[in-house]
Symmetry: C2
Subunit: 415 residues, 2 copies
């Protein structure tokens, strides 16, 4: 018999991880394994391998000093360099002393949720939202996640009214809401939230006296015309953000995430929690070297944005070619695609059935909207930053799905 | 305002870490900073720098594949190689599927405690015990730690009777005891527990229907004549052990710890918790390469044992020269030294006063027995695996402490 928390976590293994490892175990190859899986389910940026390999080959080996104990919330050197990078990106000063480094953005989200919430307290999230938030924010902290459903008709664009309503409903039901959380840029939607709206969101959080948690993991992966606005640039107290190297640097295995907060009490508590999820000094040394030359880092990140834009455009063209709708994306690794016309049955039961068909018959791993608490069934997240041929093959397979007659016309297309 | 757990953690920052970083900030140097700190407070093995640096220089750079997502409880390759190493050391088969890798032995202890204990449930530990167990085992899990005091007269050797009594007392007081935990080899005492006694301990745990948690972080750092007996070699169900690279490989910064359990339910829960404290794939790649050649690894570990033995003997000789008693050590990084004759006042208040004198006036960082829940005041942990000149300087300073007349004779010397 194990503890309640551990039992709940073991029972709720994130669907994303399971589907990812199944697909990775028997990957598609045009000649060697044509019946293998095409994995477009994981937001893993695989466009940067050549640059990273070249860079890694240049790095000097780890020194003896770098194998020793270091502050468990991150070495001073790496925090300084991350602070310098984020100061530029956010257009607002980031103090290295306001950063807490832990082993991954998931761990950083766990830290801020565990700092803010006693078990049973609530966090409100505009939905659809990144499905792993359920585990990241709620799994160890015991916080309860309350979705605030956005509207399909507006392309699930961020709106304050549903969040305000969810806050009020939760309070009326006796819940103690401690925070609003969201990904900015949005994941799975790949949208950049407008600056005005973020300003209003900070005010809404202040009015409700709740904290605001911003997952800014895609801060350097914005390739559309609308500029990214960091919550740091908006200002406001009780705002805490998370960033990491997984997406923008294409280093998901390195598990380096950073929490940014200016609240001294939150920082002290977060540092104490970082004790349980420190990052290897060896990996920190590598990351500090990657950030040593700001000009080179900027060029790397610019190339990443170019490649993401090209990858997104190529995937969008393939989708159009096969008559599959999607929402326009301007950031991140994914497209939110519209398989509503292919639903074999109504509702989320139909979506689940379609997911199984796509996975088992088409051998394509994409995640269904339900995994993101989508308010409407039939949407799927397709991740595009991998070999364009694989994406084309996957989309072609999706194009073979039977459609209900007139379905697309009847439901219309958002935006 | 932060959560109850976070507030408690922030308030109880481990004394070991604080003292370590203060001492490291202004280190002693015979010429450049003769009034600097001598840090003998941290169990950091600094005898292996030359070997590690040479080894690191040979390692090929990380590959693209090694930057990607991998199973969050450890790559298959590294778990296989750790399992092979431990199988040899433990003299009992270790299955890679029974290992859960997380970011440090502290994290591994947190994982097993959080798996076994609901908040408020108890873990019994023979004392003195490694002070950071309070945070590692209790900090996030909410488990309550119950010391079972060993006897000074027998040199704090492991005995079952105090553990049995603590288990009975806790149960009578209405506590739900979930586990017994101990370091084996013992820390801070540097003792190797006899095989018979470990067998009886496993039986005692079974009789009380509690789990047994063994911290075997010093498994490869045994340099005395008594052989190390792993709990795996003793057998028994509900036995879970922790190991890591910090001590035996002199890589404390790399934060790679591993939990070993054969219980499927515990393993599933531990894997779910590993999600929050994964190890960088970059660091895992380095560690897997370090373990690639079993012959070389064995030679490295043998050299470590030789150096530890020499370091321990040198420190013991210095202590004898300055008339400071200590318990004989046969493993680990530390000596349990007897400053009872130097106590300026009776009890733990006197020990605390002596600690301050040693730190502030002598500029020597060693940790007092109270930090290890010592049942008797006046004992300190002195860590020896660093430059022999620094150890000699530190011991010479300790030798200048005033003694109470006839104190040593009156109290006698254990063993």
């Amino acid at each position: 018999m194990v503890s309640r928390t551990a039992a709940a976590l073991a029972a709720a293994s994130p669907a994303i991880a399971e589907a990812h490892f199944r697909a990775e175990a028997t990957p598609y190859h045009p000649i060697e394994r044509p019946d293998g899986y095409l994995n477009l389910g994981t937001a893993e940026n695989r466009l940067l391998g050549d640059l990273l390999t070249a860079w890694a080959a240049e790095l000097p080996p780890v020194t003896e000093q770098e194998t020793r104990y270091a502050p468990l919330h991150g070495t001073a050197l790496l925090r300084e360099r991350i602070a310098a990078l984020l100061t530029g990106t956010y257009g607002a000063p980031v103090d290295p002393e306001h950063l807490v480094l832990v082993s991954g953005a998931s761990a950083a989200l766990d830290v801020i949720a565990s700092v803010l919430c006693d078990p049973g307290e609530a966090i409100v999230l505009p939905a659809p939202y990144y499905g792993a938030f359920d585990t990241d924010l709620g799994g160890r902290s015991g916080a309860r996640l309350v979705p605030a459903p956005l509207r399909s008709g507006t392309g699930f664009a961020l709106e304050l009214e549903p969040i305000d309503r969810a806050l009020r409903l939760a309070a009326r039901a006796g819940a103690t809401v401690r925070a609003i959380a969201l990904a900015t840029p949005a994941n799975p939607l790949g949208l950049v939230h407008p600056a005005d709206l973020l300003r209003d969101l900070v005010e809404l959080a202040a009015a409700h006296r709740v904290h605001l948690i911003g997952d800014q993991i895609y801060a350097h992966s914005v390739f559309g015309s609308r500029p990214f606005t960091a919550l740091e640039a908006v200002g406001g107290e009780r705002v805490h953000t998370v960033w990491g190297f997984a997406k923008d640097f294409g280093l998901p295995g390195f598990k380096a995430g950073v929490l940014h907060s200016t609240d001294p009490e939150v920082l002290a508590a977060a540092r104490a929690l970082a004790y349980f999820a420190p990052v290897s000094t060896g990996t920190q040394a590598v990351l500090a070297r990657l950030l040593a030359d700001p000009v080179r880092t900027a060029a790397f990140l610019a190339e990443n944005r170019r490649r993401l834009a090209a990858s997104c455009a190529a995937a969008a063209a393939q989708l159009a070619r096969h008559g599959i709708g999607h929402l326009p994306a301007e950031a991140g690794c994914s497209l939110w695609i519209d398989l509503r016309p292919m639903l074999p049955a109504p509702g989320f039961a139909g979506e689940q059935e379609l997911w199984r068909t796509v996975a088992d018959r088409l051998r394509v791993n994409i995640l269904p909207g339900a995994a993101f608490h989508s308010p409407e069934p039939g949407w799927f997240r397709l991740c595009h930053p991998l070999d364009a041929g694989l994406v084309a093959e996957a989309v072609a397979r999706l194009g073979t799905l039977p459609r209900r007659t007139g379905a697309a016309a009847a439901e219309g297309s958002p935006r």
